[in-house]
């Protein structure tokens, strides 16, 4: 797919699954189980993705050019070589950034409307 011809905005808003997968791949390339594990960890178990959702999303993200398969292995001795690793593409990074900005704008709006307040490092939905 021609990456240059697609604007990041055309992907927004992202589904929660796609957003979480892109976020999980933001700092390193990962295989399916590692993606799933990270999503559960960072959301304290509130988001639990099944294998069907994970690989259905991965399939669509590969087709859209948001992620790509990686041949690199962080440490081949520690891992099963049958696992497929995935990483973000340039388009995927731009889409994630745009989505984060969109969410930030929404949160700012919610704050202005006194729907949401920040107390120190904790946020409370009122």
């Amino acid at each position: 797919m021609a990456e240059a011809s697609i604007t990041p905005e055309s992907f927004l808003p992202l589904t929660p699954a796609v957003f979480h997968i892109l976020l999980a791949l933001a700092d390193a390339e990962k295989h399916g189980y590692a993606i799933m594990q990270e999503i559960e960890d960072v959301t304290d178990g509130r988001v639990q993705m099944g294998p069907g959702t994970l690989y259905g999303s991965i399939k669509r993200m590969l087709a859209a050019g948001l992620i790509e398969e990686s041949d690199d292995r962080p440490d081949p001795t520690l891992d099963d070589e049958r696992r497929r690793y995935y990483r973000q593409t340039g388009l995927g990074r731009r889409v994630l950034r745009q989505e984060a900005e969109r969410m930030a704008e929404l949160m700012a709006l919610a704050r202005r409307k006194h729907v949401w307040a920040v107390f120190g490092s904790r946020s409370i939905l009122t």
């Binding site: 011809s5 799933m36 294998p51 069907g52 994970l54």
Partner: protein, 315 residues
Amino acid sequence: MSEASRRIAQHAEASGGIAQHPEANGVSGGMTEGAMRENAATVDLSVRVYSWLLAAYPRSFRAEYGNHMAQVFRDVCLRDFRRGGARGMASLWARTSLDLLRTTVEEHIERGIDMSREKFVRWSGWALMAGAVLFAAGLILGSFDSFDMDPIGGVDAFYEISQAVGLTLGHVLFVFGLLGLRTGYTGRSGSLGAALLLLAVIGSVVSLAGLLVMSSIEAAWQVWMGGFLAMTLTLAVFGIVAVRRRVFSRWNFAPILAGVGLPLLFGVGIAGVDSVSGQAPEWASFVAVVLTSVGLILIGYRMQADAGAGSDALA
């Protein structure tokens, strides 16, 4: 058992079962060897059942991701069993069943839409090719009609009927073909390309409408010509977009070829090459018809070839 399911089951066996998995270390904590073996069997059975259930997904999806899904499920099984025992497994199965149900439906729907779209684009490509041949044959045979304005019949009936049938069927097929062109390539064409393709479709519909009422309404001739000119001109401009954005996998110049014939013919006529009649000469009409038809045939061939190559060639 299907080939994909068998491969998945083999993969699960080749992974060495629960005892060799890194997550299995926690399973043994505080258990007797017999209990550990029994629980390992529970996990292996779960993985086996899940591998069987993967048969519910479309074949292509299963072939591409089935092994990986089974492997991920196995990893999650081991983790949840270590954390929560049988209760953890029950919770995992509740979540997984819902996930399986929802995503199998999604994948089948998505596959159905992709298949329908590819099929439509493929058939539209054939329609555009057939339409171009009929259009060219109709106009070329019609040119042998010695007197254009008489009703159908008499000594020139064959040429007149050939022209009427060729043009009418050709235009019907153009509408179908251009709809397929828009369906298959809007995503790759950008907003300008998509708008041009829509205008080309509208032009072809207007042209067909003009052609159908030509025998009863005198002004319909202008409607037919106007629609056809709009269709070909927008195709020519779309060709520039196609060349710049590489809309087709090959032959992106084809819409320009399909689109320049008629405007050129008008240009030649307006320039008064044939000053006696004030119309374009026969050779110019012939060149215009051939250019238009060859261009449309090339577009149609590309459409059916791209659709046959799979959804990646379309967008």
